[in-house]
Amino acid sequence: KPKTQRGRRALEKKEPKIIENTKHALFLKGGNTSQTVSQVLKELHTLKKPCATIFSKKNMTRPFEDQSAVEFFSSKADCSLFMFGSHSKKRPNNIVIGRLFDGQVLDMVEFGVDKFVSMQEIRAQKTPVGIKPCLVVSGEFFDENDDNKRLKNLFIDFFRGENVNKICLSGLEHVISIHAVNGKIYIRNYRVLLKKSGSRIPRVELESMGPSLDLSMRRTRLASDDLFKRALKKPVEAKPKKKKNISRDDLGNKLGRIHMKTQDFDKLQARKLKGLKRSAPKKNKENTEAKKQKIDSTS
């Protein structure tokens, strides 16, 4: 029960809405982490800023066995995406990327980081923090089966950035490329350099910047089809309403259409024009005659 306006606004932000907020990501560490994994978490967190929170403490949980801890942290931090990093002998350099729906884990995929090149190792100018990245997904791998399609959906959801309707064209500087081949996934980050070209559209040149990850898939826990369908459902109010009866002709003029009932032209109410009045001429004569007589009698 909020007592202040600020508290009330904070609660309203967490409520379900028709048009949703940008999904925030939560970066967690497990019981034991290697330096690579910690670096991965840290750097991906900077890539996803400000829509990301990173927990500095270690948490003794295993997402694939018990999801309640992840769900609890996500509900508190109001994040619906998470990345959990851990390291053990059996699963070295392990990261779990997942998303939630309605406070419960929807999809979770576990990867092993085979190779990681940090941002600091690549000597190049970086993009500013917080800009929306362009995504490039390539590889036949993602079309092979439904699970891989879901994985593609997960990646896009994770790296999407802020939900915007309009974007400044000069602000498209960051590209995240996800390429899958032979069961391995290669994530690369580039900075966009716009060069002059013959036309209005610039030529794109890419310069490798940020972290590059080589991942190999391990376990997956994907949501059932009906739960996923339920999560995909769009509210009726969000659908754009069609404007009927308005069209444009080839000249660019706006035309409208009005529907009317059939009109009986005999019974139309037009302006009163006395000259056009259909009155019986005989009757007039009688009256005038009668009046004349009267006048005669009185005079």
């Binding site: 409520e15 379900p16 809405k17 949703e20 907020n21 999904k23 619906s80 998303r99 729906f101 309605d102 929807l106 929306k132 990245p133 362009c134 995504l135 490039v136 997904v137 390539s138 590889g139 036949e140 993602f142 079309d143 959906n153 896009i156 959801d157 999407r160 309707n165 309009k166 974007i167 400044c168 064209l169 000069s170 498209l172 590209v175 490329s177 390429h179 081949v181 032979n182 690369r188 580039y190 966009v192 060069k195 070209s197 013959g198 559209i201 610039p202 030529r203 794109v204 040149e205 890419l206 490798s208 996923f228 339920r230 999560a231 995909l232 459902k233 509210p235 754009p240 007039n284 009256n287």
Partner: protein
């Protein structure tokens, strides 16, 4: 001179075509979703052939394919409608093609409050009020509500006692209590709205404080006071001339389910009697009233006693109406 110019142009053109072109080969294999700034390469790439993924070569291949994808994406983005917002060129992105799951379920429709229902039925719109209001006393614009507001009653150091009020009454305390009552009433309404939205039973309010209590309110108050004991008025003694009140707080009367067997039997058998009779029972008062009404109506129809003609609709109206000012056509009434 002209020849050299042509040669220079040709050379430049060549260079332009080579390095600075925005054309992309195999552009059909690239799916663009502008809303997401996403470029998906469907179909084969050169990479799949490389089993030996040598670092340099592999990186370069990835970069080239990514470059083509991004170029295709930018080609389509630059085609979108542009507008100028605060000095920068901004492009409106279309709807997202890919279906991404929501993070929270679709919100349920909020229940309409009693005021909202009323406003909807009457067509009352919510007019936005301005924040600043002219304060006559201070001769400046002040906020309508909040800190340092205009017409602030709480800051009055002097309140005139109205002519019809008790001179000994504390006007300041009166204002405070009035405010408290308003707040309490608002809270009550809010809770009632919540209870109604959750379809919970709302207990009857009973009696709310009013400025001028009427006779009904007094009798109600008596009943309520009588009942408001720990045992709900079971042991309160009756006053000497107290009559059983009509106000029982119940809107409908239900017969007790067990008890008066004789009454119940009589009523059930009466139903059978009524059904068995072929002639319907006549309610004498109703019948006489109906007969009287009918005779009165007939009388009024026969007698054209009205000075101003009754408003007739349809054919009657156009027949009776006369043309404007044309006295020749006027039919003279028989005297």
């Amino acid at each position: 001179m002209a020849d050299t110019q042509i040669v220079v142009d040709k050379v430049l053109q060549k260079d332009v075509n080579k390095v600075f072109s925005t054309a992309v080969e195999n552009a059909e294999l690239i799916d663009i979703d502008e809303g997401l700034l996403l470029a998906t390469t469907t179909g084969n790439l050169n990479i799949r052939a490389t089993h030996d993924f040598t670092r340099q070569n592999g990186e370069e291949v990835i970069r080239q394919s990514t470059r083509s994808a991004v170029q295709t994406l930018f080609n389509s983005l630059w085609q979108l409608p542009v507008e100028q917002v605060e000095g920068t060129y901004v492009v409106t992105l279309p709807e997202i093609k890919m279906w991404l799951p929501r993070e929270k379920p679709i919100p349920k429709k909020r229940a309409v409050t009693k005021w909202q229902e009323y406003a909807k039925s009457k067509g009352i719109l919510n007019k936005k009020k301005s924040r600043m209001v002219w304060d006559e006393a201070a001769k400046e614009y002040k906020p309508r509500w909040g800190y340092k507001r205009a017409n602030d009653g709480t800051q009055d150091w002097l309140i005139e006692v109205p002519a019809n009020a008790d001179p000994m009454e504390d006007q300041f305390a009166k204002r405070q209590t009035a405010k408290k009552e308003r707040v309490a009433k608002n809270e009550l309404q809010r809770l009632r709205n919540i209870a109604r939205s959750q379809k919970r039973k709302v207990p009857g309010v009973g009696l709310t404080p009013t400025e001028q209590p009427s006779k009904d309110t007094l009798s109600k108050a008596l009943v309520v006071a009588r009942k408001s004991t720990a045992s709900l008025g079971k042991f309160t003694e009756k006053l000497p001339k107290e009559k059983p009140s009509k106000f029982t707080g119940k809107k409908r009367k239900f017969e007790p389910s067990i008890g008066d067997l004789k009454n119940e039997r009589e009523r059930q058998l009466k139903i059978l009697d009524v059904n068995a009779k072929k002639v319907p029972t006549i309610n004498v008062t109703k019948a006489t009233n109906r007969a009287l009404r009918e005779s009165e109506e007939q009388r009024s129809r026969e007698r054209p006693s009205r000075k101003t003609p009754k408003k007739q609709k349809g054919k009657g109206a156009s027949a009776g109406r006369k043309g404007g000012g044309n006295k020749k056509n006027r039919v003279k009434r028989n005297k």
